[in-house]
């Protein structure tokens, strides 16, 4: 086995040519494709990151909106409850007032009717009494008693 230096020179030349050819026609395009893919992936990752952030933001917003809506609903319910209680109180109050008013009216009516009746009765009784009295007087008053009576009246008048 001899060392053939021409083979060495040829090997060097062949290797350099191969390196140049591969670099130009094979690895160059391959590297550029891999670089493109790297950029593509990076871009996709950043896009994903952006959309994730956007999704998070909208999620927050929706949560806030939901919370707001819940609060509003609670407020409305609370208000409705207050209003209804108030209204119920008012209704009860007015009913009570109405009832007492009606009762008072009725009492007044009764009173006035009673007074009227008493007055009518009194007038009637007065009339009847006068009639009775006149009848009695017509029948029973004699001279003496009449004189006596007149005196008494006169006395009474005179003492006043």
């Amino acid at each position: 086995m001899d060392f053939v230096w021409e083979s060495t020179v040829f090997a060097i030349a062949a290797f350099l040519i191969l390196y140049w050819l591969l670099n130009k026609y094979a690895f160059g395009p391959l590297f550029s494709i891999m670089e493109q893919r790297r950029q593509l992936i990076q871009q996709q990752m950043s896009t994903a990151e952006t959309s994730r952030k956007a999704a998070e933001t909208s999620m927050e917003e929706q949560k806030a909106a939901l919370e707001q809506a819940r609060k509003e609903a609670y407020a409305i319910i609370e208000q409705a409850r207050t209003t209804s209680t108030k209204q119920a109180d008012e209704i009860v109050q007015s009913a009570r007032n109405e009832a007492s008013r009606l009762k008072d009216d009725a009492l007044k009516d009764i009173e006035s009717e009673k007074n009227k009746a008493i007055a009518a009765l009194r007038t009637e009784v007065g009339g009847i009494s006068v009639q009775i009295a006149s009848k009695i007087i017509e029948k029973q008053v004699d001279e003496k008693s009449q004189e006596q009576l007149v005196d008494q009246y006169l006395k009474e008048v005179g003492s006043k």
Binding site: F3, V4, S7, A14, L18
Partner: protein, 255 residues
């Protein structure tokens, strides 16, 4: 053992089997790479493209283990060419051999009277082998790489590169020179010896005849492993040397 066909052409010795093997290896390497990048696609890479991208990733990781990440990119092409070419070269001699017996003088193939007499009248000429089973070829690769190492060291790291010859003390200058010389020598010899030994053993097993088939199968499988390891070793050592020459803090030794 086999002789190799050496043609004398204008005063130069042309080893036909080596030249042929180098050319075939280079063509296979180039075709493989071209096929891999034939239908390049960002979204839907083909099988071969996927494979080649895996190789690129692998080489990238390998180089990145020897030097800072931002410097890796420049050397990926070199690492890829080295690892693929050496691997293909290592595999080339494995599947078969082409051996002719020559009984007559043949000026073109370098079979002279003396050679014939030396081999008792019948010369076995091997036309097919791994280019890396030839020391001349591995020496060529190692020279290329070491030239690059020193060039890069001088160009990019001038002060530290020159200074490292006299570190830690000027007394160490001879040792450092021996170290620098041993780098290409070990690179070339390691690769050559592994592959050459593999092929020698293959031709030895072939002498066994039919009995040797299982041994041959086992040994060829192991040779594939060895070939891959040697290709990887050559590449990573190249990168280690480049890293040592070009990076500032290179006190540690990677041997």
């Amino acid at each position: 053992m086999h002789e190799f066909p050496i043609t004398k052409l204008g005063g130069f010795n042309i080893d036909l089997s080596t030249w042929g093997a180098i050319i075939i290896s280079a063509i296979i390497t180039f075709l493989l790479a071209r096929l891999a990048v034939r239908n390049l696609s960002v979204h839907n890479p083909g099988k071969l493209q996927n494979f080649m991208e895996w190789v690129v990733e692998f080489v990238h990781t390998t180089i990145a283990s020897t030097m800072p990440l931002e410097k890796v990119k420049r050397y990926i092409s070199l690492g890829l060419t080295l690892i693929i070419f050496i691997f293909v070269s290592n595999m080339l001699g494995l599947p078969f051999g082409i051996v002719f017996d020559f009984h007559h003088e043949n000026e073109f193939l370098g079979i002279t009277k003396e050679v014939l007499e030396q081999h008792h009248g019948a010369v076995h000429m091997a036309f097919w082998k791994s280019p890396t089973a030839d020391l001349a070829v591995t020496a060529g690769l190692a020279i290329t790489v070491i030239f690059l190492v020193h060039y890069l060291g001088l160009k990019e790291n001038t002060k530290h590169y020159i200074k490292h010859y006299v570190e830690p003390f000027p007394v160490f200058l001879p040792l450092n020179i021996i170290k620098e010389i041993s780098k290409p020598v070990t690179l070339a010899l390691r690769l050559y010896a592994n592959i050459f030994a593999g092929e020698v053993l293959i031709s030895t097993i072939l002498m066994l005849g039919w009995v040797g088939i299982p041994f041959l199968a086992v040994w060829q499988g192991f040779s594939i492993f060895v070939g891959a390891i040697q290709a990887f070793l050559f590449t990573i050592l190249t990168m280690v040397y480049i890293s040592q020459a070009t990076i500032h803090h290179h006190e540690e030794e990677a041997h």
